[in-house]
Every structure is written in C-alpha cells, then in structure tokens.
Amino acid sequence: MRPPRGRGSGGGFRGRGDGGKGRGGGGGGRGSDRGSAMGGRGGGCGVFIAKGKEDAIVTKNLVPGEVVYNEKRIYVHNEDATKVEYRVWNPFWSKLATAIIGGVDEIWIKPGARVLYLGAASGTTVSHVSDIVGPTGVVYAVAFSHRSGRDLVNMAKKHTNVIPIIEDARHPSKYRILVGMVDVIFSDVAQPDWARILALNASYFLKAGGHFVISIKANYIDSTQPVEAVFQSEPFEQVMLEPYERDHACVVGAIVSQRNPKLLSEMLGGIGSM
C-alpha cells in the first residue's frame, strides 16, 4: 500500500512532486524543461533520459495509462498541450537498462526492429523493449516457466506487439512456426549452455548481419577464476553490469556471416574462456 493516489497500481507522478521521493523527473507537469526527454542513449532513439532531481532512463509508454510492474511514470507536456507518458526503467530490475546506463554504445533495439527475446520471465524488461520498438516492431518473447508465463501472457494482452511463447528456448524448432526472421536477439537465459541456445536460435531466426545482446553471468563461464580474469578483452563490445548486478556482463555482438551452429557456439564460448 502506498500513500493514497487513487486506485490501482503504479503511483504515477501526476504533476505533484510529493516529497520528491522516488526517481525520475519528479512531476513533469511544468513544461518541457522538467521531465524533459532527451533521446538516444544506447544507439538509435526509443530510450530517453528524464532529467530532474534524479535522472532516470525511461521509455515511451506503448499503452498510455497502464503499468506493468508498478513502475513510476513521468508525464511531459508538449507545446500543443498534449501529454506524453513515459515509464521509468529501473536498472536494478533490468539488465538491459543497466547496460544502457553503463554506457553501451549500441543495443540495436530501435523503433521498428524485430527482436527475439530469450528468457523473458514475467515480461518486465520485455515491456520496455516493446515500448522501444513501437507498434511497427515485433518482440518474440520466449519464457519457459509457467508461473512467469502467465504474467507474460497478461502483459502481452496489453502490449500487442509482443508475441508470448511459453516454450524451452533450447529447442527453437518447437516454436519455429511462431517466429519470423529477426534483427536482434536479446538473451538473458541464465543457463550454463547459453552459448548453444543463442547459436541455435540465431541459426534459425537471426538474419545475416543481425546482432545479439547477451547478459552473461561470470560463474557460468568459469566459476573458479576471478571475475576480472573471465571478462577480458574481446572483439565485441562489453559492459560490466556493476553496481546493479554482481559478476554480470552484457555483451553485444554481431553475426557477420552465418556460421553453422557448432562453430558459432565455439566462437561464443571463446568469449568467455579468454
């Protein structure tokens, strides 16, 4: 229960910066200087920065008026008196947000993109990805757990560019009928064979010249070595997810030319073992 702000979840700031608690532009109801949305962290548009008492990254809400996991919302007034609603993206709860804040140059997820999201769980980060790609893009969200799957399906009911797939990501042939070719694969599967999973899915669904973004836990690669030794120099872009996540890194790479799955997984495995 939070202080009374009307019924329902997600105490959005409705222009009353009450005590300034919480994050984000703190009540963007005063024109475009407060709660201003600056575009463009992490490559192309879609992700904005809200400046205020505390800065936060936000995404433009695909379904205005709805919140997915009780996150805060920020309203910005345009010159023509319309309101734009943004949802705050919490880096403590989302590895992709952490990577963006950490300074990754390009996440390849932009408006109109087609994204395959492996490890969607309850769909909290998926909802933000769906906001970014907008109504012209598509997000294929794969989750295996049934409990989380229910939340994912409920979220997908509102965000209509998300296609929920409750299936094991290890077997892309099982859901091949539901997925087209995608531009980006985002993987947050937290499984020891993440490389094989990614390679297999890429061989089915990732277009040539497509990219992938993975979140890797250090102890999946080699739990005996210290973290620093594991994540060393690579040809790909890499960002450590401290202080939001311990021993995690986010890696961005590209499929320059399609190798066969075995080779690809070796290559990916090579990242980790260096």
Binding site: R176, L178, G180
Partner: protein
Amino acid sequence: MALYLLYESASGYALFLAHGLDEIGQNTEAVRNSVSDLNRFGKVVQLAAFHPFESALDALNQCNAISEGLMTDELRSFLELNLPKVKEGKKLKFRLGVVDTKVGSHIHEVTKIPCESGDFIHELLRGVRLHFDRFLKDLKTGDLEKAQLGLGHSYSRAKVKFNVNRVDNMVIQAIFLLDTLDKDVNSFSMRVREWYSWHFPELVKIVSDNYLYAKVAKYIEDKSKLSDESIPGLTEVVGDEDKAKEIVDAAKASMGQDLSPIDLINVHQFAQRVMDLSEYRRKLYDYLVSKMNDIAPNLASLIGEVVGARLISHAGSLTNLAKCPASTLQILGAEKALFRALKTRGNTPKYGLIFHSSFIGRASAKNKGRMARFLANKCSIASRIDCFADKATTVFGEKLRQQVEERLDFYDKGVAPRKNIDVMKDAIESAESKDTEMETEEVHVEASGKKNKKKKSKGAAAENGEPAADDNPTAVANGEALEDSKSEKKKKKKEKRRMDQELELQDGQNAEQDGTAKKKKKKSKDANGEDLQSADGKKKKKKSRNEDAE
C-alpha cells in the same frame, strides 16, 4: 532431382520448389549469398503450393503437432496433393526438405516421401523465412504478424492452462457494478416516491420499502380506480391484508392531484424500470457469489463473498491480495486513517474492510482489535491458498473459519481452541480425500504415508513453521489419524453419499474434484483441543455428545 521445401508458417503450410541447384556444386557460403537478395533467391526458389489453416483452432492443432514433431492429417493431405506421386519400386524423382528431422522421419514413415534436412536445406529455409511475405501475394504486410500473434497467444495460453473461469477481473467488475447499482436503484426509488406522491401522497407513509412501493405504484396506477374489489389483488402485492385495506382507505380520502393517462403511463413505466433494476441487482449478486466460489472459494467461505470480493477489488487482483502481508490486509480500506495516524503519530486503525465480516461484530469491544488481527491472518492464508493452489477447494476456508469461531469462543468463555497444527493436518487430509472420492463406499484404511506428501499445502507448512517432512508422520500414526478424522466427519444435509467413515485414497480411481464444494462440510469439532490421535471409540462417543449439544 527436384528439391521441394516444406515451410510451416503461422498462416499455413507452404511448399517451395528449388530448382536449378546442384547440391554437390553448391556450398553453403554461396547459398547464403544468394539467399539475401530476393531477386536471385526468387529465381532459385519458387512457391509451389500454399495451404492456409482453416481456423484458429486448426492452426493451434497444427502448431502443437509441429512442436512435437508429428505430422497431422492436414499436412499429409497437403503434401500428397501437391507433390508428385510416390510410386512403389520406381526411383523417386524428388526430395522434400524439412527443418526438423523428427517431422521428416514421420512423414517418410507414413507417406514414403523421402525427406531430408541438413545445413543446405537449413540455409534455403532461412531464405524462405526471410522473404516469406513477399512470396505470398495474397498476404498483406502485417497479416503474417497478426497470425503469429494470435497463434502465439493461443499456444501459450494452452501451455499455462489459462483457465478463463478463474479470472478474478469478473469479480472486481461485478462488485463495482453492485455498488453503482445500489446507488442508482436508491436514487430511482426516491424519484418514484416523489413522483407518485404528487398523485397519492399517503402511500409513502404506508409502504416504506422501496421495491414494494414501486410494485404498488405500478399496480394501483390511478388511485380513483381503487375499491374494495382490489383489496385481494393488493394483498398479493403487499403481502399484508391490513396494509391493503389501509391503502384503499387512504386512497379514498387522498388529497393528491389527479394525473392524466399519459402521466400515469410514464410513472408506470418508470416504476417498472425500478423493479427490473432491483431484480437485476439480485441476479448480479448471485453471479458474484458463484464467481467468488470459482476463483476464491476459501476466502469466500471464510469471510463471505461480498467482503472477499471487496478485498480483492481493493487490492487490485487476487494475486496482489495474496502478495500483501496480513497486516496490510487488516487495514485495507482504511488508508486515509492509517496515513493520517502515521503522520500525526496517533493510533493507527484496527480494521478496514474486514470490519464488515460478521466476526468483528460478534466480538466484544475490547477484543475487536485482536479478532481483526487474527481474522486478517487467516484471510491472508486463505487468499494465498486460493491464488496458488491448483485445485479449487473450500476445505481450508472452512477449517480456518472454525478456527476463528473457536477463537471467538475463547474470548467469550475462555474455551481453549485447538492447536493449529492439528487443524491444518485435518484440512490437508480432507483435501486429499476429496481428491479421490469414490462412488461406492469403502472403508479401507490405507495407511500410506505418501498421501500427506501429495498435497503439500503452502498454508500448512508455513503455519506450522515446521519442515514439510514433519507432515509425514509414521505410517501407523498416520493410519490412526486418518481413522479418527474419518469417524469425525459428519454429513451435511444435502450430501447423500458421505458416510461417517472416511472415503480413503485408492489407486487408479478417477476422482472428481468438486470445485464449488460448499455442500460438503466436514466438521471435526473438537471441544477441548484434544490430541487427535486417540482411540476411535472415544471419538465416536464424543461426536454423539457434540451432536446432542448442537
């Protein structure tokens, strides 16, 4: 040799013909290059046939079959129709490329069509996937995505067993509507009274009930037409002959003005509306009750349907209610008082919506707070069971209700309530026996320890604070406990089949779990909180004493 490609899409099955290819000559690298360019690819691969799925249900069946690696009849007939015939003994002039080897082997088994899959096929099919929407002229852009979206949703919902009947949104909407209806019916009734009183002012004082007033007004219409002959009819409407007489007398001496026929018709119609709305309100209430029993039977049996529905709607959903701590549940609905007290460092409220359940009213003023806390704790357990249990059962709700009653007794008379662990053990056993009830009455006592392992109720484990393993006492003791609980079960009036002997778990018997089992009320009233594990005979005597006492 011609190479066909089978491609499964969300809109339907497609068959492509790849020609001009020589596999030995081509390596995957070259194929890859030709794949990315549609013109070049289009020369190599062409659409041979396309079979759209008949309906959403058909699409779901196909999708399920594909994910298992099986071939459906529709796929089979599609292939046989569009591929050249397979002749026995002759050399086959074509091959079919598929992505999945399982499907391929199944197809080959049934139809003898030679299938193959490999890197080469894989590359070609990647190209097909990339350019698919261009191949099919009839498909507009976005159609394929819509098909994928619909199919994805139905596939996923089937996986998570999305039960439409257990959607708590209906209850939230119903309770809102109920409140709105109440207000509206009240305003309309007031309006009828005022309006009709222009014509017949005395009626307001005689008939005080809103619904009855509307009925009477509708029946009487023009008061000058009232006479002694209409008394029987009026008695039927009002239910009381004296009142009917009063009405007729008052009508004769009334000082209200006359109304023209048109006006009377209007009043009549309005009164009819009010009555209809009242009827509807009643039906809505029944609907709410039945929905509550579907989605939250334990909560409903513990505090009643209306209060339970209010709690759910206040929290936002059943899941939200289950997630919040019991202290929150206690003061749900009293937020204004709560935060005011917190700000001014005063006393926080003791109860919120919970206050409207009957238990708080029955407690003495000193104990209201304690009862509220106790009740909130039990409600929290009930809501969690409802939210996360797979089967719908009211057993736990009833047991919890008994605990609340016992606690009330304790405050009133000092009667010590039963220990929680015993009650919960009871509840688990009845829940399991309900699982596997049988048509014939058998009295087997199968002291199988695994029974307790099966239905591990979260509530019980959490309540007892003991490891779940403790729930599994030795086989002998278990047998005794079951026997005892058997002898204590009483029949509720409507239940025909249940005997005092418990119906025990048997192997392989189909069980019909009664979802809305309000009919069964197994009371194991244990007046002095004695240990359940005592001899049968003593229990039986006790039971009959209890029966007498009631």
